[in-house]
Amino acid sequence: MTDVVSISVPAAPGWTGVVELVLAGLGARLDLPYDRIDELQLATTAVLEDAVGPDVRVDASARADSVDIRVGPLGAAAADPARRRVLDALADRVAVEPGEEGDTWAVLTFARGGAR
C-alpha cells in the first residue's frame, strides 16, 4: 500500500517552509531518523527553486522501503548536472522526467533507512 501526501504552494521562496513542515510531519509519521528528514527537506527545497510556477506541487509517496518525492512543474535548470550532483548526494535516486503537459518533474527517492 502506498500513502500519498500532496501539497501545492505558490512557487515563491516564502512557501518552502510550509513544504518543509509537511515533509517533517510525514517523516515523523514514517519514523524516519531526523537527519534523513533533514536531507529529504534539503533536497526537496533545492528542487523547489527550479519551479517555474505560478504554483508548484509536491507529491510524497510513502512505500514500505522508500519515500518518493515528486516535484513540478520545473524549468530546464532542473536537469543541470551541477545541481544533480548535490541531489545525488542527498537522495538514493534522482530522476528528471517529462510531465503530462510537456513540462519537467523531478522524482527523488529516499530509502527508509538512516542517512546515506
Partner: protein, 247 residues
C-alpha cells in the same frame, strides 16, 4: 586585586611578554567577566558561552591596554567585554520571531539529538527525540523547524581580529576540492563559500559523509551542520545563478 599589583602584571606582560602574568590578570578579572555575562543571561544563549566570549574580550582588552593612559584595567576592559558579548548576540540571531518556549525547546532538542546519536549510533527519530525531552511529536517538529530560523555565528570568524581565520584539518579536504576542475561550475559555487562551510560541503557532497559523521569530525552539533549545509547551498546557488547570467 590592588591596582599596583595589576599594574606590575601588565608591565610584565606588555613590556616583557610574560604570558603567565597575562593569565594571572585574566584569572583575577574573571569575576568581572562573569558579572557582565550574567547581565545577558536568560536571553537564549548559555551563560557559560557568554562567559567564554566575555573572556575573549578581556584578553583583547589586556593586549590593547596602554600603560601610559593611567586608567584602571577593569574600567578599560568593560566596554571590550560587553562589546564582545553583544557581538556574539548579533552574530547568533533568530531570523524571524520565534517564541521563547520554542527557542528553549529547540536548544534542548539539539543537545538531545547529539546525545541520542552518540548513544544509538544513528540519528534519532522525531518520536525518540520527543520522548527524551518529554514533549509530543508535533511540538518537537515545531521546535526543530523553528531552529532553522537561527543564524549561526560564522565558524570562520577569527576570535581575534588580528588573527587570520584558520581551520585545523582543512588540508585533506582542500586536496579533494583542488581536484575539481578549475573553472567548473561546482568549483565556482564552492569558491563562494567561507573556508569552514566549504569543508562541510566537501565532506558531505564529495566524500559522502553523513551529517552525524561531519558533526563528529568538525566538532559541532548536527543541527549546526544542517544549518551550514542549507546556508552553503543557498550561497552556491546564488553564485551559480550569477555565473549563468554573466555567461
Amino acid at each position: 586585586m590592588p591596582s599596583d599589583a595589576q599594574r606590575a602584571l601588565l608591565v610584565a606582560y606588555l613590556e616583557n611578554g610574560d604570558v603567565r602574568a597575562r593569565d594571572r590578570l585574566v584569572e583575577e578579572l574573571m569575576p568581572l567577566v562573569r558579572s557582565l555575562a550574567n547581565r545577558y543571561a536568560g536571553r537564549g544563549e548559555p551563560t557559560e558561552d557568554l562567559v567564554q566570549v566575555g573572556a575573549i574580550g578581556l584578553v583583547k582588552a589586556i593586549d590593547r591596554f596602554e600603560l601610559e593612559k593611567g586608567v584602571e584595567l577593569s574600567t578599560y576592559a568593560v566596554p571590550t567585554i560587553v562589546g564582545e558579548i553583544r557581538r556574539h548576540f548579533r552574530d547568533r540571531t533568530w531570523g524571524v520571531h520565534v517564541p521563547r518556549r520554542l527557542k528553549e525547546l529547540s536548544m534542548r532538542l539539539s543537545r538531545m539529538r547529539d546525545e541520542l546519536s552518540a548513544e544509538l549510533g544513528r540519528s534519532p527519530t522525531v518520536a525518540e527525540l520527543a520522548e527524551a525531552v518529554g514533549v509530543d511529536e508535533e511540538e518537537a517538529i515545531d521546535a526543530l523547524e523553528a531552529s532553522k530560523a537561527y543564524a549561526p555565528r560564522s565558524l570562520d570568524q577569527p576570535y581575534d581580529d588580528d588573527e587570520p581565520a584558520r581551520v585545523p584539518g582543512l588540508a585533506d579536504e582542500e586536496r579533494g576540492y583542488a581536484a575539481l576542475e578549475r573553472g567548473s561550475v561546482v568549483r565556482q559555487g564552492l569558491d563562494a563559500l567561507e573556508e569552514r562551510e566549504r569543508r562541510i560541503v566537501v565532506l558531505r557532497f564529495l566524500r559522502g559523509m553523513s551529517q552525524s559523521e561531519i558533526a563528529a569530525e568538525v566538532g559541532i552539533s548536527q543541527m549546526h551542520v544542517s544549518r551550514l549545509l542549507r546556508k552553503s547551498l543557498e550561497t552556491m546557488r546564488g553564485r551559480l545563478e550569477e555565473t549563468e547570467v554573466t555567461a
